[in-house]
Amino acid sequence: MLRKAQARRHPSPLPFRVTMDTTPIWITLRLAAVSTLILLMLGTPLAWWLARTRAWIKTPIEAVVALPLVLPPTVLGFYLLIALGPDGWLGATWLALGGASLAFSFTGLVIGSVLYSLPFVVQPLQNAFESQGARPLEAAATLGAAPFDRFITVAVPLARRGFITATTLGFAHTVGEFGVVLMIGGNIPGKTQVLSIAIYDHVETLEYAQAHGLSIGLLAFSFAILFMLALMNRRHARRAVA
């Protein structure tokens, strides 16, 4: 009976000829782009501070930033759902300020993605800043550059590789997340239904062909990103040697 149902739905023998709803792809790309942008804006100063500070609070903050690496995404998603819900402190404040509900909204997804992908952006940046040492900045200071000037004209260009890694990993990781978005975004087609959830949905309803199409696309995309990153790192390493 199941097989019959499938056959009825997909008369074509080739799974990729099936027409697919592309909305989840666009939602995912938009979510990844917005999250990456916010991650870079928040992560850069945070990574800079972590790379330079000697305060005791540095270590606990590093641990908090790294939490999403080890926590099940559902845990993060669960607490976010509570915080962002209409009774949560963040959600309530947001509502009081005149905003729409954060839970099950695109904004909620962005907040979740930013937190979830934070270590993938902060750690490469922090490493890049730390490996520079103090010397380039000291040299820039003796050449008359004020602190912010030094940061923009010396620290950031020298951390270029870190920024490339952070951007790609932040973007790719956001594209690939599942647990957090499911918890706080739910599964609202056209609104919060991202790729990974659409795939899950297709599988649940036994629409394997559609699941295939999206999965293959995501697989190819992830490989391409990582391959490009490795390529760029190799080229950079070769130029540094030359």
Partner: protein, 358 residues
């Protein structure tokens, strides 16, 4: 007040820096001392790179730091040039980019040198389009010097710019440094622990030991002070600035004059009238009470004994005044007693070897 006035303290567990000295408004001052004596730290304090330093720094009437009055001008507003030991070039910029970085940030009204002039001063014209990674050690040093000059500094600080270089690369760069010493009208501080560099380049010296400035003043004076450790090292010496006044073509010698006294040195193609600097080691000077006769030594001049200091159980260090120039002689105690020498006595200093430095 012209020049640079420094009175600084800086502490770290196990090490304390306590420096106090004044420098003239131009010329190179060697910051000299054994390794670990705090030379680099002192230079960094002057540059404002060590925030924990307390005390006073005044330059040409401007105050850069006065802890008592709560003044601390940050490094980027100190109008100084700093040549780091490792050059510290910006690897994401070309050589030209490195030069322009400092030039662009110097206040337009206070510039006295363009990047083009800095390039000419250091002879790096052929490197401008290069990236910094491919440069040799000597080239990096010269680019670092040019970059520091292009900021039109009021004070030039150099932290052992030659330390990492081999002998050939050093020989290439020294002429450029000598030109800075002759022509730049700003104070320059040059950290070094190599006496041959100091002898060639410096006009003044600050001597540092275990974080304390033991002496500061004109180079010759510091080098010949018998109460300082310098006069008791194996290469204890004095410097004489002389002028080429003649040539002996037949014997291939050049005739030098200092304060009316004559020196003959092997002629290496010296120009008539050129200013040269020679170095005389204490162990190459011997003394005699009468004008020596039948000797192979060419350079003999009358001098007065001004100082006596024990050097070792066998040797004494004798301070001399030769036509106003302080000179050191290291002789045996036996000779001192045998000749019946005494302070204030007139003697003849025989100089066995004279090293031409420039």
């Amino acid at each position: 007040m012209n020049g640079l006035r420094v009175a600084l303290q800086w502490h770290r567990p196990g090490f304390a820096l306590n420096a106090e000295f004044n420098l003239p408004a131009r010329g190179i001052t060697a910051l000299f001392g054994p390794s670990g004596s705090g030379k680099t730290t002192l230079l960094r304090c002057i540059a404002g790179l060590e925030g924990a330093a307390s005390g006073r720094i005044d330059i040409e009437g401007a105050c850069w730091q006065d802890t008592a009055r709560g003044i601390f001008v940050p490094t980027h507003r100190r109008r100084l040039g700093y040549v780091f030991q490792d050059a510290a070039l910006m690897d994401h910029l070309t050589v030209q980019g490195n030069l322009d970085y400092g030039y662009a940030r110097a206040p337009a009204g206070e510039r006295w040198l363009t990047p083009a002039q800095a390039v000419e001063w250091t002879g790096i014209g052929h490197l401008l389009a290069r990236r910094t990674q491919g440069l040799s050690g000597g080239e990096r040093s010269r680019v670092a010097m040019a970059r520091a000059l292009a900021t039109s500094p009021r004070l030039l600080l150099m932290d052992e710019p030659l330390a990492a270089l081999d002998t050939a690369a050093k020989a290439d760069i020294l002429p450029y440094l000598e030109r800075l010493q002759r022509e730049l009208a700003i104070p320059m501080v040059y950290v070094s622990h190599a006496m041959d560099e100091v002898a060639r380049l410096a006009d003044h010296m600050v001597y540092l030991e275990q974080g304390r400035t033991l002496a500061a003043g004109p180079l010759r004076e510091i080098l010949t002070r018998t109460d300082l450790p310098l006069a008791h090292t194996d290469d204890a010496s004095t410097m004489i600035d002389a002028q080429v006044v003649g040539h002996d073509a037949g014997y291939h010698l050049a005739l030098l004059d200092f304060n009316g006294q004559r020196l003959q040195v092997a002629d290496t193609g010296l120009q008539q009238g050129a200013a040269v600097r020679v170095r005389i080691l204490a162990r190459d000077v011997s003394l005699s009470r009468a004008p020596p006769e039948n000797t192979s030594i060419l350079n003999v001049f009358p001098a007065t004994i001004t100082k006596l200091k024990h050097h070792s159980p066998a040797q004494v260090l004798v301070g001399l005044d030769a036509a106003g120039i302080p000179l050191l002689a290291r002789i045996t105690r036996k000779s001192w007693d045998g000749l019946g020498l005494a302070l204030g006595q007139h003697v003849y200093a025989q100089v066995k070897s004279v090293a031409l430095l420039q």
